[in-house]
């Protein structure tokens, strides 16, 4: 199962290595990763896409929480968050299918950044479903290159994800 977790961490040297090291050491798989500063410059947010069953996800969250530099871990459930990813795709075109490709791109609402005689470079943003759909749409024409930023996600609840420290463990 795919999950999106959001991790607030100290904005310090070496923290990314601690997180990625934890994933590799314990055999957890990262499918996507996006890191950036938050509204508080001492705090960074990592949005991590992970794959695994419930038990694995539980361990991932617990192990992340054990890291001293991790301030908070939130596991997003499907209904409570919005997610976005920006992708750049280079798709090959021929004189024959050029029109067809352009139509497909247009119908999707993706932006053409560069149109050459042999390839077209596209920029698109969207949530996980939309990005996947775009790639599937373009695949038959021949995708030459894909560059993705990694997914970012934010809860849609009224209060923000604040840094009040780790929650007490209710067990």
């Amino acid at each position: 199962m795919k999950h999106t977790i959001s991790v607030l961490v100290e904005n310090k040297f070496g923290v990314l290595a601690r997180i990625s090291g934890l994933f590799s050491a314990r055999g957890f798989n990262i499918s996507s990763l996006a890191v950036g500063e938050t509204e508080d410059p001492t705090v960074s947010r990592m949005t991590i896409g992970v794959e695994g069953d419930e038990k694995t996800l539980e361990q991932i969250k617990k192990q992340l929480n054990k890291l001293i530099d991790v301030i908070k871990v939130v596991d997003f459930k499907e209904s409570e968050f919005i997610d976005r990813e920006l992708i750049l795709v280079k798709v090959s075109v021929t004189t024959k299918n050029r029109k067809e490709v352009l139509e497909a791109i247009e119908s999707f609402g993706a932006k053409i950044e560069n149109a050459g005689s042999k390839s077209i470079s596209i920029e698109a943003t969207g949530d996980r479903t939309r990005v996947k759909a775009l790639l599937e749409l373009l695949r038959p024409f021949g995708i030459l290159e894909v560059v993705r930023t990694g997914r970012i996600a934010m809860s849609t609840e009224d209060k923000g994800l604040k840094v009040e420290g780790k929650p007490e463990v209710n067990e």
Binding site: E10, G14, K66, I71, E168
Partner: protein
């Protein structure tokens, strides 16, 4: 007052109550060693950095205080790594300090440079690189706090030599402020109630006690939970001593080389009360088959230990002592009469046995060491057959008397750990139970023991083999003893000990055992007891890897 970084380090250690450091000098810690030269803080010079880490670990386990070790950059730091990883696996509070090349040279492949914070990231609870002298006292304060609170563990501070020479005002912080680190101590009251109810209603309960009970100083609470409610107790290797093994409710150690009756009892139990143990693979055996009828209460300070392998019904996260104190008040004594009868039957039917003939057998030696020390000794061990015999045949009755590398299984741990333990408990009788393989992994520490006049007794159960591996080869690899025969090239341990100024005693006959141990105990020097034991003696019972823990072999057991 302005002080140099090196002096600030020493003064900060004193503020933290450190009395002793185990270490080894080198180029990038020269300022620190210079500051130590006229400091009341004592440094114990080991003969290898690995031993410094193990000695700090042994000191910590024997006393409950934080062990501190110090090494230079590069190879000095990497030599600490095995000791740090050992402490990490067994939740030992430790602060390791390493010198680092000058800060402006970091990343340049400078002489004796190693990225030690990178290397130790997965084997430390946390680590630091000092980048600015202004951060130094905060880092030290945090390091000691993190090492000793929650689930304890090693913390490393990497300290570039140029910053050791910089000066700043010495102000030691009073408090730490770590928003990402808030260990839970109080157990959830609702969960404790549920646990009390489960215990009160259980018919076949068993207490399964690990090292966490000793770390949290919960032996007394374990005792009352067991004795007041007639609940049998089994312990992990690191839990030995948390409950007296000479008590009728004790089942000794469980797991791969546990007693048959402990394994049968936990498999047949209807309720496992786990206190500071983590259901590791040497304990559970085949996970699917483990204790199929049992509900599980898991008391642990580390939430990540809960439901990591065995699914837990009633998790209680927090400090074992605090939780048990609360729990003990709520438990109504269950009726365990029939259960205890079954447990006693297993005890009678499948006792721990060995062939008690005229040959010099290791189990007999352990029994004699127990008798002659009246169970009062601190027993450190190396790793292998001798370690398991110690766990089986020395009757541990007190916490912090069994000091062994359980999680990592580090050969070469026991002797330096015994040195550390002896410094921590100068009046105690400290043994290192060793094999002829393990002792050679840190044998240079004879110098440290002798020069410091430590009366550590090293009992080498010498069988000329890497015995545990040989045992596996005998049982599972058709006796193909591939590179486990180390008899050739084995030094004369008596002469070796003597050459360092220690006492060496060789024992080749069973009849000589008592006198030899008595002589060792009377000696206030370091002693090597070289016991030439039966070469192919095996550790039984034994659960083959991947089997259910009631499918034991050997020892005449079903």
């Amino acid at each position: 007052m302005k002080l140099t970084g090196a002096k600030i380090l020493i003064e900060s250690l004193r503020k933290e109550g450190v009395e002793i450091i185990f270490g080894y000098p080198g180029g990038q810690v020269l300022p620190i060693f210079d500051a130590l030269y006229d400091s009341p803080l004592k440094l114990i010079l080991t003969r290898h950095e690995q031993a410094a880490a193990h000695a700090a670990d042994g000191y910590a386990r024997a006393t409950g205080k934080i062990g501190v070790c110090l090494a230079t950059s590069g190879p000095g730091a990497t030599n600490l790594v095995t000791g740090i990883a050992t402490a990490y696996m067994d939740s030992v509070p430790m602060v390791a300090i390493t010198g680092q090349v000058k800060s402006f040279l970091i990343g340049n492949d400078a002489f004796q440079e190693a990225d030690i914070t990178g290397i130790t990231r997965p084997v430390t609870k946390h680590n630091y690189l000092v980048e600015d002298i202004k951060d130094l006292t905060r880092i030290i304060k945090e390091a000691f706090h993190i090492a000793s609170t929650g689930r304890p563990g090693p913390v490393l501070i990497d300290f570039p030599s140029d910053i050791q020479n910089q000066e700043t005002e010495f102000i030691y912080p009073e408090k730490v402020d770590l928003r990402g680190y808030k260990p839970t101590y109080e157990g959830h009251p609702g969960q404790i109630k549920r646990a009390a109810k489960a215990i009160s209603e259980s018919k076949r309960p068993i207490l399964y006690v690990g090292g966490g009970a000793i770390i949290s100083d919960a032996a007394e609470e374990v005792r009352s939970l067991a004795i007041d409610n007639d609940i049998p107790v089994t312990m992990t290797l690191l839990g030995l001593g948390a409950f007296p093994m000479d008590h009728k409710l004790s089942l000794g150690m469980l797991g791969m080389h546990g007693t048959a009756y402990a394994n049968h009892s936990i498999m047949e139990s209807d309720l496992i009360i786990s206190v500071g143990a983590r259901f590791d693979d040497r304990v559970t055996g085949k996970l699917d088959a483990f204790a199929p009828h049992a509900k599980v209460i898991h008391i642990d300070i580390d939430p990540a230990s809960v439901s990591k392998s065995v699914e837990v019904d009633i998790p209680i996260v927090g400090d074992a002592k605090t939780i048990l104190k609360h729990l003990n008040k709520l438990v109504k004594k269950p009726d365990t009469k029939d259960w205890l009868k079954r447990v006693d039957d297993w005890k009678k039917k499948h006792p721990l046995v060995y062939k008690n003939d005229d040959k010099l057998r290791p189990q007999y030696i352990l029994e004699e060491i127990y008798k002659l020390t009246k169970g009062e000794a601190i027993i450190c061990t190396e790793v292998g057959q001798h370690q398991m015999w110690a766990a089986q045949f020395y009757t541990f009755t007190k916490p912090r008397t069994m000091i062994s590398s359980g999680g990592l299984g580090t050969m070469g741990y026991g002797f330096p750990a015994a040195i550390g333990a002896q410094f921590g408990k100068p009046k105690a009788t400290v043994f290192d139970i060793a094999g002829d393989g393990s002792i050679q992994m840190n044998i240079q520490e004879l110098a440290t023991a002798v020069i410091n006049k430590l009366p550590v007794k090293v009992a080498i159960l010498n069988n000329g083999y890497l015995g545990m591996v040989r045992q596996w080869q005998e049982l599972f690899y058709k006796r193909r003893y591939s590179y486990t025969d180390i008899g050739g090239g084995c030094p004369d341990f008596v002469k070796l000990a003597e050459s360092y100024g220690a006492v060496g005693i060789r024992v080749t006959k069973k009849s000589e055992v008592r006198a030899a141990i008595e002589k060792a105990l009377k000696t206030d020097n370091t002693v090597f007891l070289d016991f030439h034991i039966e070469q192919e003696e095996n550790v039984f019972p034994m659960v083959p890897a991947g089997e259910a823990i009631n499918k034991m072999i050997g020892g005449g057991l079903a």
